[in-house]
């Protein structure tokens, strides 16, 4: 059914900027404070209070704009977006409208259907966050907490670029990654530091005109992004296939029932009556200001991924896993820099290191140098791969030098030719019948002999070397 239809999705993302204080006042932005304790005349909207913009917020906004390839405009204007809502104390939000901070950017992401796709970033502007309304805390009342009111935000608006809910999600994850890399925000959808609203429409495959779009809100996690958009797309298709028309309205996603419902409102669509905020002179940024943010942009994920593929001869998928998180990427490079073979290091980081980080929630516990050493021990045959995992776990938990830990655990393998030869001789001598059978063609028996050698050495023999010595001896 979905095959005859094309889905068109655009995303509006609001991202909280990592500043200490709010956008227009010196209140703290710290999450989790008791309600209405990080407030002042400005963010409470008290009579007579005036906004004064936060320099760091502008710096991060510019950096973010550069990170998604936008043109940063040296002159932009703050504008008031006027509407009434309990968590908006001034009755308007200070935002930007006709002259935003940045426009015309793009961000490449991996589409499951189209390979590398590019989202157009129409605009990126700065604004302030609203407070929080809690509708279920007290009966018949709405409780308002204005701690969040005034926290700096950037709004990032794409064109109608995505052709599937999966693409939309992929773009979002890529955007999150870029913003995290650049230190702009922690992009946590559960904490609300990243929020997304989507515009969704469908059209018959092949049509160029856009269908009527709806806005989908209340999507609270990356997983729900895909679910919500799928549900809305299917709803629109069902409406159109049933001969109806899609009404331009706002739909709210309900994650509990995985459904969307129209936001009931008797109001006509908002007329925000934007006008330049007379309390704030124009935002004028010098070339130096913008250039500084360009230098503060780190190597972004896509570039890093490409470099990993080239420099370390990794597959695109492996490179993607390693560069998903900037800290992990830096860690990986440190391990390689400490002497580990890149491909082996990649495997170790992708498996043991990431699993450990996930299970214990304590970050990357094994120092890069230690991991490099451990990898060396395995490659040199001193420790088997299995045993090395035990050593890794031990170093992660209690620290220590891998070699010492391996010794203490008693897992140092013997690769000494002489010692191996002795064990091999003992085993062969103990099983003459099997030796004969082997020499008459049952070469599979080498595994049996190997098992015996491992037994005789109490697991300490390096199995690969032992097998070689066995084969040599049996051949003679």
């Amino acid at each position: 059914m979905a095959g005859a239809w094309e889905t068109v999705i655009g995303l509006e993302t609001h991202v909280q900027l990592r500043t200490l204080s709010k956008m227009f006042c010196g209140c703290s932005t710290a999450f989790g404070a008791p309600p209405n304790t990080n407030v002042c005349p400005v963010c409470l909207g008290l009579p007579g209070a005036l906004p004064v913009p936060n320099e760091q917020a502008l710096k991060l906004a510019v950096r973010a704009a550069l990170g998604v390839g936008c043109t940063v405009h040296p002159r932009s204007v703050f504008a008031r977006k006027n509407y009434f809502y309990p968590d908006l104390p001034k009755g308007y939000q200070i935002s930007q409208f006709e002259q935003p901070l940045a426009t015309n950017g793009s961000l490449s992401y991996l589409s499951p259907d189209r390979g590398i796709a590019t989202a157009t970033i129409q605009r990126l502007h700065v604004e302030e966050d609203a407070g929080k309304s809690l509708h279920d805390r007290f009966p018949k009342q709405t409780a308002i907490d204005l701690n969040r009111c005034g926290v700096p935000l950037i709004e990032i608006v794409t064109g109608p670029d995505f052709r599937s809910p999966h693409e939309a999600r992929s773009y979002l994850l890529t955007l999150k990654q870029v913003l995290e890399y650049a230190g702009i925000s922690d992009c946590d959808m559960e904490k609300g530091s990243l929020r997304v609203d989507a515009n969704v429409s469908v059209r018959r495959a092949g049509e160029t005109a856009l269908g009527t779009k709806t806005e989908v809100k209340n999507i609270n996690s990356f997983a729900y992004v895909e679910k919500a958009l799928t549900v809305e797309r299917d709803r629109q298709i069902a409406v159109l296939e049933g001969g109806g028309t899609v009404a331009p309205q706002t739909m709210l996603y309900d994650s509990k029932t995985n459904s969307v419902r129209p936001q009931r409102s008797k109001e006509e669509s908002h007329d925000y009556r934007y006008f330049p905020d007379p309390d704030l002179p124009p935002l004028v940024l010098t070339e130096e200001f913008i250039a500084e943010q360009q230098t503060l942009l780190p190597e972004l994920p896509a570039k890093k991924r490409e470099r990993f593929v080239e420099k370390y001869a990794l597959s695109v998928t492996d490179a993607a896993v390693l560069t998903a998180d900037r800290a992990v990427a830096d860690y990986y490079e440190a391990v390689v820099h400490a002497g580990a073979e890149p491909k082996t290091a990649a495997n170790w980081v992708m498996t043991e290191v990431l699993a450990d980080a996930k299970d214990h929630g304590d970050g990357l516990r094994v120092p890069p140098g230690a991991l490099a050493n451990l990898i060396g021990l395995v490659r040199g045959g001193t420790v088997s791969h299995q045993a090395a995992k035990r050593v890794f776990a031990e170093v992660a938990e209690r620290g220590g030098e891998p070699r010492n830990v391996a010794e203490a655990l008693g897992v140092m393998q013997v690769g000494d030719a002489g010692v191996l030869a002795r064990w091999v001789s003992e085993v062969l001598a103990a099983h003459p019948a099997e030796v004969t059978r082997y020499k008459t063609g049952e070469t599979k028996l080498v595994q049996f002999f190997l098992g015996q050698v491992m037994k005789a050495s109490r697991g300490k023999a390096d199995p690969k070397l032992a097998q070689r010595v066995l084969e040599e001896k049996l051949a003679s």
Partner: protein, 462 residues
């Protein structure tokens, strides 16, 4: 004044004088609270401050920690601000005593103080007439001799116009000279705190104290406080322009006489006087009455009964709370302006009204620049088209009321400093003349004002 006993005496005397004129309904602070506060303030005031012990009344739309800030409105009845305006803090740091809050048109919207929710204020010389507005209470108190100076605010002439009608001095500073932090916003790009005083000297002294940089106001310029000039011997070297658009054919002949007399005196003082033109003047009131209501409609959106102030009904849901609070809390003039402002910003009308008005504003500002660029230092005009009018006279037609701002709004639109001082009497009622200066050159303007004040027979019929 240099010691607490003098400050205390000053405090008590001020309270006594204010009580004596309570019939004017100029001071909104209950007398017991006022007296108690003045005495307490006197004991902690800074003795080394340049205004030590001076009682200064403050318009009700300026936030103070002492007394309520109700902006002449029901919607903020009983509201106590948890912070004070920067201008008020500066007054206190200079040792001044905050002598109560004065009546005003609601949120500064009006030209007669008849639009206050707390009753109109009376003209000190004729109780059937208005003291002007919106800073009518401040002007009346100063004119009645109760306080030497008072803070007011201007958006379209609300300090100068009442000064003219009451026969006192009113100064509007350059936009950005005085911090707006704590001034309850009406038209943000036009608002400034101004000063009313018995004399140019008193008003200027207070203006000097309250002016200067403030990190809390992004529209306040990074400048030192205003420098006070000395009284000049003559006005030799000054070029004073007289814009013909302020002397229309139908100007009240008595106002014309008073102005002509003042102009003659300026010449006698040595100034060169020449006729100039500010061609876009006829559109100024229209421009003002688009921009100011537009900004006001947004600035007043925060008054909804949710977080502060009284509530009016509204138990059903929050929209009902907003609508009844604002419907009942705002008076008719505020309601008109909020609705007009909302209209001119709304989709479909923004370009024709608001954007056009901003362009007109630029042309009006340009008119002034052109004149000043051609060697003119100051402009002289009448302040108001008439002396104080009768209460109720202009209430039926809002536009009739707006036209009383005809000579004052241009300075607000162009952000320029201006001062009104009494230049005569018309059938016993005061009338003012104004000097408009160049941006941030208040000192030149004040020099000329000092000289004119000394020369003009302000108590004489025109």
């Amino acid at each position: 004044m240099s010691d607490p006993s003098e400050a205390l005496a000053s405090a008590k005397a001020a309270a006594d004088r204010i009580v004596k004129v309570k019939r004017l309904n100029a001071c909104l602070t209950p007398i017991k609270e006022l007296r108690k506060s003045l005495v307490a303030q006197a004991s902690v005031a800074h003795p080394s401050g340049v205004l030590y012990g001076m009682p200064v009344a403050v318009k009700d739309n300026i936030c103070t920690l002492e007394f309520t800030t109700s902006c002449g409105s029901k919607i903020l009845e009983g509201y106590r601000s948890p912070y004070e305006a920067t201008a008020v803090a500066k007054l206190k740091a200079a040792g001044a005593l905050i002598a109560g809050k004065t009546n005003c048109d609601e949120f500064g919207m009006g030209s007669s103080t008849e639009h206050s929710a707390y009753g109109r204020s009376l003209h000190p010389f004729d109780k059937t007439r208005v003291p002007g507005g919106s800073s009518g209470g401040s002007a009346a108190l100063v004119a009645a001799g109760a306080v030497p100076a008072a803070l007011g605010s201007e958006t379209g002439g609300s300090v100068r116009q009442p000064a003219s009608l009451c026969g006192v001095v009113g100064i509007k500073p350059t936009y950005g000279r005085v911090s707006r932090s704590g001034l309850v916003a009406f038209g943000s790009s036009l608002d400034q705190i101004g000063v009313l005083g018995r004399s140019v000297h008193d008003a200027a002294r207070v203006l000097s104290v309250i002016s200067g940089r403030d990190p809390r106001d992004s529209t306040c310029e990074e400048r030192d406080s205003l420098r006070l000039p000395t009284v000049p011997e003559s006005l030799q070297g000054f070029v004073i322009g007289v814009p013909k658009e302020y002397f229309p054919q139908d100007l009240d002949p008595a106002v014309r006489r008073a102005s002509d007399r003042a102009i003659r005196l300026l010449r006698e003082l040595g100034a060169a006087v020449r006729e100039v033109s500010l061609p876009h003047t006829p559109y100024a009131v229209a421009t003002y009455y688009i921009i100011a209501p537009a900004e006001a409609s947004s600035n007043l959106a925060r008054y909804d009964g949710a977080r502060y102030g009284p509530r009016f009904n509204g138990s059903e849901d929050v929209r009902a709370l907003y609508r009844t609070t604002r419907g009942e809390g705002f008076g008719p003039e505020v309601r008109r302006r909020v609705l007009v402002g909302t209209y001119v910003l709304s989709s479909g009308y923004y370009d024709a009204y608001y954007r056009k008005a901003q362009q007109m504003r630029a042309l009006i500002a340009q008119d002034f620049r052109n004149v000043f660029d051609r060697g003119v230092d100051l402009l002289f005009t009448p302040t108001t088209p008439t002396p104080a009018f009768k209460a109720g006279e202009k209430l039926n037609d809002p536009v009739a009321m707006y036209l009383s701002d005809i000579f004052t709004v241009t300075a607000n639109l162009a952000g320029l400093p201006a001062i009104s001082l009494p230049i005569g009497r018309i059938k016993g009622l005061p009338i003012g003349g104004q000097l408009i200066g160049q941006a941030f050159l208040e000192d030149e303007m004040l020099e000329a004002a000092y000289a004119l004040e000394r020369a003009v027979p302000a108590g004489e019929e025109a």
